[in-house]
């Protein structure tokens, strides 16, 4: 029988022998392999955890964009109101509006901003049984929407949660920045969106609330609108400069309707005026 080698007996010697066999080529190949596997795994986890899909904090990078900004949160209780009216006026920054506010609240806001100018003012009032909240960027009162702000002050993110059950009218005026309005869980009466520059996504793909009318004016930037394919929705589009892509919708001139659209039933009417940029309409 052959005697056992030193390497088999001594783990330290085995490690030492392994290291001595490591040529620079092997080191490079190992580093390349580790890099590729790490990036693929990392970005796969990121994708699976919703890092690349639109949400409260849309990201195209693995970094949390609001990590170094302090969050300022506010809540606006319903106070017995049976309906609501919400107006949001943002000069520059990214805005996300979605459902999910607590049952007793009409609206909850989280503002991430490095600049005091970007902290909003709130005006709250009651009109009969309707509660009205106006959220306005402080700087907007004094300066022009688009050009008043230095680039660093664009480091501004508003995240607004609205009540899922109470019907409300929503108006959004956004100067510059991306705008995501995800209202699948809410109950709308009217929706008005006016955006200056930036991409806008309006997602009503899961909308099960009452019929509503919407007016959308998009300035410069791409617009994506999703509606539920089972809904009775009619979209009128005035397209400026840019492509239009419609899926799951029937087109008649400048009107797009969901399958089985019936004008005699309650209709979700959406009017879009697009300036410059592509429009994507989807029935999902």
């Amino acid at each position: 029988m052959k005697p056992e080698s030193t390497r088999d007996n001594d783990p330290l010697a085995a490690v030492s022998a392994s290291i001595s066999r490591l040529t620079i080529t092997r080191v490079i190949l190992w580093l390349v392999a580790i890099s590729i596997v790490s990036y693929i795994t990392g970005f796969a986890i990121l994708a699976l955890s919703g890092g690349f899909s639109p949400g409260p904090e849309p990201v195209a990078s693995p970094f949390n964009r609001t990590a170094f900004r302090s969050a300022n949160t506010s809540s606006f209780p319903l106070d017995g109101a049976s309906s609501g009216e919400v107006r949001i006026i943002l000069g520059a920054g990214d805005l996300t509006v979605h459902g999910g506010a607590q049952q007793d609240n009409l609206m909850e806001t989280t503002v991430y901003s490095a600049s005091p100018l970007m902290q909003p003012d709130y005006a709250v009032s009651m009109n009969g049984s309707a509660k009205r909240v106006v959220m306005t960027e402080t700087g907007h009162k004094k300066k022009d929407w688009v050009f008043a702000h230095s680039p660093e002050s664009w480091d501004n993110t508003w995240d607004v949660n609205l009540n899922n059950a109470v019907p409300f009218a929503l108006t959004v005026n956004s100067g510059a920045g991306d705008c995501d309005i995800l209202l699948g869980n809410t109950n709308l009466t009217t929706l008005a969106v006016n955006t200056g520059a930036g991409d806008t996504t309006i997602d009503l793909g899961d909308y099960h609330g009452g019929p509503f009318s919407a007016v959308i004016h998009n300035g410069v930037g791409d617009l994506t609108l999703r509606v539920r394919k089972e809904s009775n929705t009619r979209i009128r589009l005035h397209q400026g400069v840019g492509d239009t892509d419609a899926s799951g919708l029937a087109q008649t001139d400048e009107h797009y309707t969901t399958a089985g659209f019936n004008p005699t039933l309650p209709v979700n009417e959406i009017a879009i005026t697009q300036g410059v940029g592509s429009v994507e309409l989807e029935a999902v």
């Binding site: 580093l31 890099s35 795994t41 990392g42 970005f43 986890i45 904090e57 693995p62």
Partner: protein, 197 residues
Amino acid sequence: MQQNEQEFIRILRTRLEGTLPKEELDDILSDYSEHFSIGKTNGRTDEELWKSLGSPEDVAREIRVMHLVKKAEDNRSCTNIVHAVVATLGLGLFNLVFVLVPFILLVVMLAVIFLVGVMITFGGVTGVIWSLLQIAGISAYSIWYSPLAGIFISIGMTTTGLLVIIGNYYLGRFFYHVCIRYLKWNIRVITGTESAS
């Protein structure tokens, strides 16, 4: 100043002492001495031979450059290549443009790539630490959208940084080789000789 063999050899020795090893210096001086002896045997005067060789200062400068370039070629080191480049500058003012400027740009480029590699590596290590802190629930370190993804991406960054540093090392070796060839070509063009070594 008398233009004779002794003076020529004396200047050459003075200029090259300390740069060349003694044996090599003696060989070179012996060659020049022999050149004078053969010339005089053929009936030429010291002044004629002096003029045919050029000034001993220029001759010493060329020998010094060739020696330093050869030394840099044989023993790769930052000091040797810098000495070779600096010596080459002495061959002509225009080498400030044709040698010094490209050399400085090359060094700066390699330094920048090295620094980028170090920063990526450092960023990766920091990213791993921040991911772990974020997983531990310390909100001040919540830079990652997903801390688990952050760990993997940070490891990728670290290894990428190391690859950049290693790549920079090989790039440096390649440019060292190119630099030596360029210096030799430069010397050949200036001195009009076929071979610098």
